[in-house]
Amino acid sequence: MSKRVGMEVSIAVSEAVKLADVDIVAAYPITPQTHIVEHLSELVADGDLDAEFVCVESEHSAMSAVVGSSAAGARSFTATASQGLALMHEILFIASSMRLPIVMVVANRALSSPLSIWNDHSDIMASRDCGWIQYFVENGQESFDHVLIAFRVAEDPAVSLPAIINLDGFVLSHVIEPHILLDEEEVARYLPPFRPVSRLDPDHPVTMGDFATPEFYLEVKKAQEAALRDSRAVIDRGWKEFAELTGRQYQAVETYKADGAEVLLLAMGALGETASVAIDRMRERGLSVGLVKLRLWRPFPAEDLRQALGDARKIVVLDRAISFGAATNPVAAEVAGLLYDAEPRPRIFNMVIGLGGRDVRVEDFEAILEKALGEDSAPGPVGEYELIGVRE
């Protein structure tokens, strides 16, 4: 199938979940939720998807339910956002430590208070270290595709880890746009049935999520960390084989007009598309700017990013969350660590942008990049960052 079909991004995501033929969807159905699980509940009720829809009383229970179902060998999906992800926080760590290949879509939204239903990355950055594979997608097509890619990678016996697909709340989740869908036969060629490494089975008892004394805990954590780092090879293979199936090639880090640029802009999620328009406009004006997009957040693609940032003397790092009281903000901290021993060390301009749904325009990117072009490449003050668009 190659015809583009118009639908809301959330609906496209649930169609991908249907194509993945999941066994269990467990979700809390009320705010902060998206149309993703609403449409899945319709698909199950109408008999279009042969799965259990477990309507739970909280996101804590939603995550607990898919931990149980995944441990029993069922392909399991959930979706949430904002406070919902925060309420899951405790169980996120259990899912990854128990090596359960659950797939979850997080429609990234701000955290309260003040109460905000709008988009930023505060939710996922607060759960950043939960041990899941974490993707950031930038449009509806990537959202649809990554549901299938995420299951394929997560369930690979060499990985056996859960995965989060971060898609920007509202800015993506509520937009109608064209998608190229896959059919069941194409998906069957790409995504094999789930064969868990081990599962709860009364006839063959195993223990999962056991008690570990200090003699054992450290070794378990080492194994878990190695599994997440090593998942990178499987992720790359998942993307490569997806490209062979569809022609759509994804990479951990992508560049846009970045070659030889004096200033590079680093973006994640839906901002990347709008930013690319700003890069086009500025390149037409003869300005030396380029774009680097980070699609894979965990495992962090350190080598790829270092290569993509190349010899740029100035790097503008966008953050969509504040790390309160920290030396710098989440993405900038990662990039600063990565470039600590780069020679010469580029200057990092950390810009916090689009918090709580504040609209981000092409002109905002142009202003940010022009400012960086006008500055020296010598290191700025420690911990310096700017809140873009804030009213003083």
Binding site: V175, I176, E177, D359, R361
Partner: protein, 185 residues
């Protein structure tokens, strides 16, 4: 790229108008987006929706600030906000109004084309209720030609099922009846 801003009140279906336009455009093989101005959803409160239609893939994901086309579903909004804010020079304003055209036109000071139709009346006649989203979409298609009127049938059927025919009738009636007036500042 043609950018359209839709003004309505919660419950009148401004978001649906934007969605139907985008779905029809995608059906024609074009690229399109539709999205609401995200906010607390209250019946009767002023709401905004947006659409973009282009021959090429659309990369813009900000709201729309200087639209080519503005569609107003509810004439009472004219009293409380400047619906022409940001309209491009030579742009198109389409209003649901039962005022005589000259009287309506005298209220505006932009450079472009004003189109008007009594969509509330058409909607009452065709649908039995004053929900003007599909009716005003008919006016928009005539005024702008963004998509062919035939391309809307399938999205209408998908969206409205049994009452799609009534909505299509309202849409076609507005398409026929909408009138144009050039506005010069």
């Amino acid at each position: 790229m043609i950018e359209t801003r839709f003004h309505g009140r919660g419950g009148q279906g401004a978001v649906t108008s934007a969605e139907l336009l985008a779905l029809a455009a995608i059906q024609e093989g074009k690229f399109a987006q539709a999205f609401p101005s995200f906010g607390p959803e209250r019946r009767g409160a002023p709401v905004l929706a947006f659409s973009r239609v282009d021959e090429e893939q659309i990369r813009l994901r900000s709201q729309i600030y200087d639209p080519d086309v503005i569609l107003v579903l509810d004439s009472s909004l004219l009293d409380i906000l400047d619906v022409t804010d940001g309209l491009k020079e030579g742009g198109t304003l389409i209003v649901n109004s039962n005022l005589p055209m000259k009287e309506l036109a005298s209220r505006f000071h932009f450079e472009g084309n004003l189109w008007a139709v009594d969509a509330t009346r058409i909607a009452r006649e065709c649908l039995g209720r004053p929900i003007t989203n599909t009716t005003m979409l008919g006016a928009l298609l005539r005024a702008t030609g963004i998509v062919d009127i035939e391309s809307v049938s399938e999205p209408l059927r998908h969206r409205f099922g049994l009452i799609a025919a009534k909505n299509e009738k309202a849409l076609r009636a507005a398409y026929e009846k909408v009138e144009k007036e050039e506005i010069r500042p």
